[in-house]
Symmetry: C2
Subunit: 315 residues, 2 copies
């Protein structure tokens, strides 16, 4: 049996990042020592992924590692932050070196793809869970928040919706091919980091779609003190969603399925063309799905099952 320290050293100590990435001291001491960039604010968030709550315990370990980091990075994306550093608190029911190696490879691959240095962590014994703290940076005052959406602005989402919900159902039905796009949407979400940074100076408010379009729109509206008129017919459905779930199922998945990790933004119509062009340059669509309103509440969609968080009144 390897000790906690040996586990950390073997699978998580490797890091291609050094002083040039602001890492004065990485994994291996009581703390990491980091050098923030002058003129920037620090952007921090933590997300815990629990087995059988947030992901299937028997999912491929590399996908579990990827996904645990991706959902945390998605919060940085929603703030328009450039990712810098992360820490991982890993709780394991048992030590399985093969599992850990694959898990770490999925985690490290997304670190490298996103420009995030893993600078610290903790390994404990218990029910499988991964808590990831992410650190990003934004120029002072440039962060996107939830609370500055204004009436008459365009509400828009990146990418497509509903795919993760359908992917979960596919997993539950026995699908195991990660090349299947809907399953990949669920197990290998892509945090919209470049999109969030591209929308700085254009969007007045942003949030990532973790709970689902309607509940997350509710959070944004509540924080900004606005309402919303959605255009249900405009929702960008994931490819194959209607074929997988039927028309009504696809609509519900897009509105309240959750786990899509796209961005929902509010932006003035004057910024629309530039925003769309910038995202197109990143290979990503931006789709208008409605508009903000001075009238509280969300209109334009019928009630959706299985959706409890939304604090405003249902239409």
């Amino acid at each position: 049996m390897l000790s906690e320290f040996e586990l950390i050293a073997r699978h998580f100590a490797r890091s291609p990042w050094g002083e040039s990435h602001g890492v004065a001291l990485g994994v291996g001491d009581d703390c990491a020592l980091l050098t923030p960039r002058a003129g920037c604010q620090l952007v921090v968030s933590v997300d815990t992924s629990v087995a059988e709550v947030h992901f299937p315990a028997d999912a491929p370990p590399a996908a579990i590692g990827h996904r645990a980091l991706a959902v945390a990075l998605s919060d940085l994306a929603a703030m328009g932050a450039a990712p810098r550093w992360c820490l991982m608190a890993l709780t394991l029911p048992a030590v399985d070196d093969g599992w850990l190696g694959e898990f770490a490879s999925g985690f490290h691959a997304l670190c490298e793809q996103s420009g995030v240095a893993l600078v610290g962590g903790d390994v404990t014994r218990g029910q499988l869970a991964i808590s990831v703290t992410v650190h990003g940076e934004v120029p002072v005052g440039a962060a996107l928040t939830r609370h500055a959406a204004c009436p008459d602005e365009v509400l828009a989402v990146t990418g497509t919706l509903g795919g993760a919900c359908a992917g979960l159902k596919a997993w539950q039905a026995g699908e195991r091919d990660l090349a299947q796009p809907l399953l990949a949407s669920y197990l290998l979400p892509q945090p919209r980091l470049a999109a969030g940074q591209a929308l700085r100076g254009l969007a007045s408010a942003a949030i990532d779609l973790s709970d689902g379009l309607l509940p997350d729109l509710g959070h944004l509206c509540e924080a900004s003190g606005v309402g919303a008129d959605l255009d249900a017919a405009a929702l960008p459905l994931a490819d194959g969603l209607v074929a997988a779930l039927g028309e009504e199922g696809a609509r519900q998945a897009a509105l309240a399925g959750g786990d899509d990790y796209e961005l929902l933004v509010s932006l003035p119509s004057s910024a629309w063309d530039v925003a769309r062009t910038r995202l197109a340059a990143l290979g990503l669509t931006l789709t208008a799905v409605g508009s903000c309103s001075a009238t509280p509440g969300v209109r334009g969609v019928a009630a959706v099952d299985g959706w409890q968080h939304f604090p405003g009144g249902k239409p």
Copy 2:
């Protein structure tokens, strides 16, 4: 049943810290926005406390909240960092509003005592666990690390040893009075934040005693490439330790009991008087327990039971 968001808002959103503490945006958005101090490095660490692994699940909730933060802050203390901000990832088996209120009160009380702003978090469902990420700051280059101890330096510990181990045994024997000092040592450890900062510029290396004196000394020696000669007779035993555990039990608790969260430092003898005086001004003792050596390994103590992590050779 309160939603995750309402739980967070009720118990964890309150914060007396604002812009003056570097908090541009606290709990409630996708991320917190923080303003690092110019001329400082950021010091970060994460620690997870799992019920029945790190603390008794039926311990007083306020003590669980205190302890989860204290063990994380102890890592900042070991780096000589001034604490600034924290995030909490809380995993709960069920929602109990009374439990949460007490837990939060213990957590917040230590936040206020230590000058730490809670700026974000996540609440998930699962086995009770608390993962706390802490952020501190040190002037560039002033951090204490594990890797710079030198031969012939004095090895010293703050406070007393073995109390937490005896406190755990007392809890297991039915003691429930938190005014009992040994039990308090275990459930309400005091991170040595002021001591760590006072030792900047004096100590050449530091580590906090979470695993126990011998294993943590092993980590320090390994990182620094030195050995150590301990003076077992010099160990500062917690008050009442011999009465509680007997002489041999007290010795083992002090050497390998763990959970004391004192600091172990290495410092040149020229710095000894100043260091001791500075800590005395904080109401804290500093006790020499041995010296560093160019010869690898730890000498001066007989083998200790129940102690597996130490990477060097046992005497």
